[in-house]
């Protein structure tokens, strides 16, 4: 019985259990609802939960445990000649056994016999049936594969039986518990609470897991390259090594990448902050509610555009435009039509990223500006200040901490942005200050180091984790500081 069919049957049992529980509670109450502690629906849900939940848990546990058990059983049955050759060979043999196991079903009995006594080549026999085998097969593998198939079949059968039994027993147990005064409602509530807790802990555990794996991989990198060389190195030249060769080691200086990241983020903020802030002030202070209800969502649509699309925009439109206009300008001024802005440059990436950030700045700032109490506005207007005087002298100073927080959140987005810079900033890891030249960022280099067919043993690939964790620490720091400021600001008016 396949797993999905099994799940379907469990759900069906749950469905039946729901109506059985409901009907039973109605019968217990003598069809007078007031005598029941909980509504019949809750009794039904309670029984259904007992029928479904334990069965699904057992199913999940079985699906995780049985392959592990079967693997170890098959592995221990492998001949000593294989076992003595070390872990890698055993793993390889195990993989081949599994491939053979898939293929065995497609071979006829005579073919199997032929393969077993060595009169037919295993690899060719299987290849004829469409199963590829990595390496020459050996006769013992057929036996092991047969054992593997048998154990798997048995395990499946047993699992189906046990799981269905658990479902039925669970449902019956819950049915027995039902009485008129039974607090099914509270029980269901507890299950709800439990599932919510599980959902949130999955999110948190995943985060912890990701950080953990990044840390451990970065640790492996730092065992090959010293942290001082990484954090204070000024040359980025990882020198891609051919797979397997250990000797080629490059230079992994973080500073050119970090410099590019911060420079591009700075240029982006230079564009996004004034425009976004002014848009926010207009939305919050001047726009009529009708205009606001139309314009604000439109502005936020900008935030929904995938950043890769901004990337095209930079690559196809903004970059060439800047290049051509710089050539024209140069020609007009000096007569030499040589462009001084590269198509891929800090400026291109900065402008396009700035456009991407405008809705973040404006939306966050708008929320904060509208939070400034109306009383302050009235106070200023009542003294005869104009709207812009009120904005400049009262509202912005009052909202300033919150706006700074919003800008920090935006900056952390700019630092972590990938797709735009991949397409618009270039790949040259250089330390320089000319915004018309290409530079590169941490995220671009992570993409580069991890593109292609890789193995995670050389510093060339592992450096991506060190870069990732560095970026993570920077953005996390920015976010925490921003949230701290925003929260502090909120308290002021509560």
């Amino acid at each position: 019985m396949s797993t999905s069919l099994l799940l379907l049957i469990i759900l069906l049992i749950g469905f039946v259990a729901y109506f059985a529980g409901r009907a039973r509670s109605l019968a217990l109450s003598g069809h007078k609802l007031a005598t029941l502690h909980s509504l019949p629906g809750y009794h039904g849900s309670y029984v259904a939960i007992w029928a479904v939940l334990p069965a699904v848990l057992v199913l999940g546990a079985w699906l995780i445990a049985s392959p592990l058990y079967i693997d170890s059983a098959v592995r221990s049955a492998l001949p000593d000649t294989v076992q003595s050759q070390g872990e890698a060979t055993v793993q390889l043999a195990l993989g081949q056994v599994k491939a053979v196991a898939t293929g065995l079903d497609r071979l006829s009995a005579t073919e199997i016999e032929a393969v077993k006594d060595g009169s037919a080549n295993l690899r060719e026999a299987l290849a004829a049936k469409g199963v590829a085998l990595a390496g020459e097969g050996q006769p013992f593998m057929v036996e092991a594969a047969q054992q593997f198939n048998a154990m798997r079949g048995y395990s499946r059968w047993l699992m189906s039986a046990v799981v269905l039994l658990v479902a039925v027993v669970g449902g019956l147990y819950a049915m027995r518990n039902l009485t008129a005064r039974f607090r099914a409602r509270n029980q269901v509530e507890r299950v709800m609470l439990g599932s919510l807790v599980v959902a949130s802990s999955i999110a948190i555990l995943t985060t912890i897991g990701i950080i953990g794996s990044m840390l451990s991989e970065a640790g492996r990198f730092f065992s090959m390259v010293s942290p001082a060389e990484f954090f204070f190195g000024t040359v980025w030249d990882p020198r891609f090594a051919a797979a397997g060769s250990e000797d080629a080691s490059g230079q992994f200086g973080l500073l050119p990448l970090l410099g590019g990241t911060l420079y591009i983020a700075f240029v982006a903020m230079l564009f996004a902050v004034p425009i976004g802030l002014f848009a926010a002030i207009y939305m919050a202070e001047y726009a009529s509610p009708r205009l606001r209800s139309i314009a604000k969502p439109l502005l936020e649509v900008l935030a929904g555009i995938p950043t890769i699309v901004y990337g095209f925009f930079a690559l196809v439109t903004v970059g060439p435009f800047l290049r051509d206009i710089s050539a024209q300008l140069n020609g007009l001024l000096t007569g030499n039509y040589q462009n001084f802005i590269q198509a891929q440059s800090v400026l291109t990436a900065g402008i396009v990223m700035g456009i991407m950030l405008i809705p973040f700045v404006s939306s966050l700032s708008d929320d904060i500006i509208t939070q400034v109490p109306r009383a302050l506005r009235d106070g200023s207007l009542g003294l005869g200040a104009t709207r812009s005087e009120t904005v400049k002298r009262v509202i912005l100073p009052a909202a300033l901490p919150g706006i700074v927080g919003a800008l920090l959140l935006t900056a952390s987005r700019a630092v972590g942005e990938t797709m735009i810079v991949v397409l618009a900033a270039g790949v040259a890891a250089r330390m320089q200050l000319n915004p018309f030249e290409p530079m590169t960022t941490v995220t671009v280099k992570i993409v580069h180091q991890l593109t292609g067919d890789l193995e995670f043993t050389s510093p060339q690939t592992l450096v991506a984790f060190a870069l990732g964790i560095t970026l993570f620490v920077i953005t996390l720091g920015l976010n925490i500081y921003a949230l701290y400021i925003v929260r502090k600001y909120r308290e002021q008016y509560e």
Binding site: S288, P289, D378, S380, L383, G384, A385, R393
Partner: protein, 271 residues
Amino acid sequence: MNIMSEAAVEKALDQKMNTVPLKMIGKDVSVYYGEKRALFDVNLNIRENTVTALIGPSGCGKSTFLRTLNRMNDTIENCRVTGRITLDEDDIYDPSIDVVELRARVGMVFQKPNPFPKSIYENVSYGPRIHGLARTKADFDEIVETSLQKAGLWNEVKDRLQEPGTGLSGGQQQRLCIARAVAVSPEVILMDEPCSALDPIATAKVEELIHELRANFTIVIVTHSMQQAARVSQRTAMFHLGNLVEENDTDKMFTNPDDQRTQDYIMGRFG
């Protein structure tokens, strides 16, 4: 619905003209919030150097009327004012009038103390600064000091002018707001329930202050407290359901009102 007949208005007008000059004249003032009408043809005059109290149950339109006097209603979406309001003969709703200048002449103190999140000094010097009433530091210092003195706050804050205004107690904050309004040297000060967020002691101080301010300013105050109206004002206007029910000398209003509804409200039979 007009409560006072035309003749009565004329008569009352004559009487007042003979005694105290009128600072502001409201004629047939109506206010609409969108479709809803909040004030119905109110005819109410504000006498110079007099405290005029506006009383009436919640939602009667007294605050709405107060806010028409310096066009603070302009800041409310969909609000429309009809009729005519003059300040020293100038129609304040005339398109040629500069709202900003009007609000400098007709200052306002709000229900909840709303000092700016700036220093005490900055709070008081805010108005003079935006209106260019002073140039040198010494001029500002003087305006700040006299304004705070007029608001009876100088002695309490003179040593901590650079501390934030939001750090003061509620009563002090409200007097700071009064000092802030006074600093612009307005002719009229509007007060919208200035004591409703204050304790009795702070209230007493503000009331005393209103009494003193009367010498230099024309004051209009909205209040929910009958006793406060009786204590601080010389003239009282009673509003009900968007209509002006009665306007009279405060003494007469609280002893022998002309209108039955005023009597009932003052006696606490409704509202």
